[in-house]
């Protein structure tokens, strides 16, 4: 069997006295859709940030696509972020003064070179082909999120991390975005999605619940198993 895409071993993250993440171990197989759920303060965003190279664990080890991520330099971490990870945030985080097209090209630019045609195609793939030159302020929440997804995909990342991707969307747009995620999963992308919505969580292959920084239980497509973190 191929090496897991993500191997997180005993990750902990402390801020002063606060333990946001406590001894969490997770493995994500290639092509797997993992959902991370839990109440606010459970550490799910912290976990996602660490998996995405936005934050470093206080202790523990992390390997993505066979490469060790813990302990590398900031420059290497930046490279990891642009080459290996695609990020989708709840608050979109698009650059306000760049068009949809330019926002996608920005991710290309940081990676290697901006390619307008490629960016256009990526946007068309998410149904934003008619709104290439609109500024984020001129787009609805759902449209902005779709641009974010196109951006997340443009550099062919190994893993796609999404933090509450539908949290700010209405029902209709939520459906559109979930549809895209389903399509990506079907195409074989590895997805890790943080959500508080059980319906979104249930779409995943596997669901992990965190509470107070620790893994509480895990569920695999129907089954539910209460277990300790080291059994995953």
């Amino acid at each position: 069997m191929a090496e897991p895409m993500v191997q997180a071993i005993r990750l902990s993250r402390s801020y002063g006295d606060v333990r946001a993440l406590d001894d969490v171990s997770i493995t994500v197989e290639r092509g797997e859709w993992l959902s991370v759920m839990g109440p606010s303060g459970s550490g799910k965003t912290t976990l996602l940030n660490i998996l995405g190279g936005l934050d470093r664990p206080t202790s523990g080890r992390l390997a993505v696509d066979g490469s060790e991520i813990t302990g590398v330099s900031s420059a290497d971490l930046a490279r990891f972020r642009r080459e290996t990870v695609g990020l989708v945030f709840q608050q979109f985080h698009l650059v306000q003064y760049l068009t949809a097209l330019e926002n996608v090209m920005l991710a290309q630019y940081f990676h290697s070179m901006a390619d307008e045609v490629e960016a256009e195609n990526a946007l068309q793939a998410v149904g934003m082909g008619e709104r290439l030159h609109h500024l984020p302020a001129q787009l609805s929440g759902g449209e902005q999120q779709r641009v974010c997804i196109a951006r997340a995909l443009i550099n062919q990342p190994k893993i796609i991390l999404a933090d509450e991707p539908t949290g700010n969307l209405d029902k209709a747009n939520e459906e559109i975005v979930l549809d895209i995620l389903r399509r990506l999963h079907a195409q074989g992308h590895t997805l890790i999605v943080v959500t508080h919505d059980i319906r979104v969580g249930d779409l995943a292959d596997r669901l992990v619940t965190l509470d107070h920084g620790r893994v509480m239980r895990t569920k695999t497509n129907g089954e539910s198993v209460e277990g300790r973190s080291d059994e995953l």
């Binding site: 930046a78 972020r81 642009r82 985080h93 003064y97 330019e102 630019y109 940081f110």
Partner: protein, 383 residues
């Protein structure tokens, strides 16, 4: 590269309000530098010209001048068999670079009905320029028989403008008319003044002068150099420096230059602070953006490049505007304070831009480093 420019121009356009303030700050800072550079480049010259209002700082005497004094017993008229300088020799002296005023004098002790008095023949036109403090009540003499009377002389000899008096020297007699009164608070108050030819004729010394007062602009050339040149042109005469004026002038000029330089330094700091403050504000505003770009994997070089690009654009734009504003300011100050025109300093524009960009970069470094050390996770969370 072209996408980088695209980001830059979109960024600039988006922030144009805030960047305009930064550019304004930059312009202000540059205006200060440019104004001071253009002004102080010539402050020496302007102040030097102002200080010529004190009059002559050099004097040319005939060499081996015998004593111009007579005892009470001697006939005063015969005393002055003094040696003189030919007026024609002075033509070349007038053309020496830095000489701005040259007034030849010929003094005699003349007899009048009211008693003896000193009569000075001089180039009245040149005197009007060099001796700026001469205040004349009435008119300056224009014709050959017109004289100025110092106020104490006029009082002692009982003269008013319009009065005539007879002047005797040796066997010569001349009738002259007082056309104006002169008040200086100095030795001139006790003397009578006529134009040079009148006195030369009276003493039978046509084309000769006894003393030459010279005003030389020390901000143009060192005084010693001018003295040397004059001495070479007039080997028969003695060129001397009036220490009273030369020393004081040198001291004052130095102090004014130093003062302006120090004030300029302080003002530059103000300009730098303004730029730094504004760039800092901008950096703080951009934290969210920086966090995002870092999340997307931008490395420090790319980020620095973007910030630098913005800083340099702001710096250049503000710097140009500021340079012109500063130049206009210097010209205005020059005209109103010194009543003279300021010529733009050659190295004014490159100097201002250099300083302006240098300050922008230096001022921008700290906020830039601060901005780049932003933790993407925290800013994306909205902290």
């Amino acid at each position: 590269m072209s996408f980088a420019l695209r980001i830059l121009s979109a960024s600039l356009r988006h922030q144009r309000a805030r960047l305009s303030v930064a550019a304004l700050a930059m312009a202000l800072g540059s205006a200060l530098v440019s104004g001071l550079v253009n002004l102080s480049g010539d402050v020496g010259g302007n102040v030097g010209r102002e200080l010529r209002a004190y009059g002559a700082n050099l004097v040319i005497r005939p060499r081996e001048q015998p004593l111009l004094v007579g005892s009470e017993a001697l006939d005063l008229g015969a005393v002055l068999a003094a040696s003189t300088i030919p007026e024609s020799d002075l033509r070349s002296a007038e053309r020496v670079e830095g000489v701005v005023g040259l007034v030849p004098y010929l003094y005699v002790v003349a007899q009048t009905d009211g008693g003896p008095a000193i009569l000075a023949g001089l180039d009245l036109v040149a005197a009007q320029t060099l001796n700026a403090w001469w205040q004349v009540q009435g008119l300056w003499p224009k014709a050959e028989d017109e004289v100025l009377a110092g106020i104490r002389a006029a009082a002692a000899l009982n003269l008013k403008p319009g009065d005539s008096l007879t002047i005797r020297y040796g066997r010569q007699t001349r009738d002259v008319r007082v056309v104006g009164l002169l008040e200086t608070g100095g030795a001139e108050d006790d003397q009578l003044f006529a134009d040079l030819p009148t006195v030369q004729t009276l003493t039978g010394q046509p084309g000769q002068v006894g003393l030459v007062m010279v005003g030389a602009l020390t901000s143009v050339r060192p005084l010693e150099a001018m003295v040397k040149e004059l001495q070479t042109l007039l080997p028969e005469a003695e060129v001397g420096t009036l220490q009273q004026f030369a020393k004081a002038e040198a001291t004052v000029l130095d102090k004014v230059r130093l003062l302006i330089a120090l004030v300029a330094g302080l003002v530059l700091i103000a300009g730098a602070l303004t730029v730094a403050g504004t760039l800092n504000t901008i950096a703080i505003e951009r934290r969210g953006e920086v966090g995002l770009m870092k999340a997307l994997g931008a490395n420090d070089r790319r980020l620095a490049g973007l910030f630098l690009g913005e800083a340099l654009t702001v710096g250049a734009a503000g710097g140009m505007v500021g340079y012109l504003a500063g130049l206009a300011l210097a010209v205005a100050i020059g005209r109103n304070v010194f009543e003279s025109t300021i010529t733009p300093a050659v190295w004014g524009l490159p100097g201002t831009l250099l300083v302006g960009l240098g300050v922008t970069l230096a001022a921008g470094l700290v906020p830039m480093r601060q901005a780049m050390s932003v933790d993407p996770a925290r800013t994306l969370r909205g902290e």
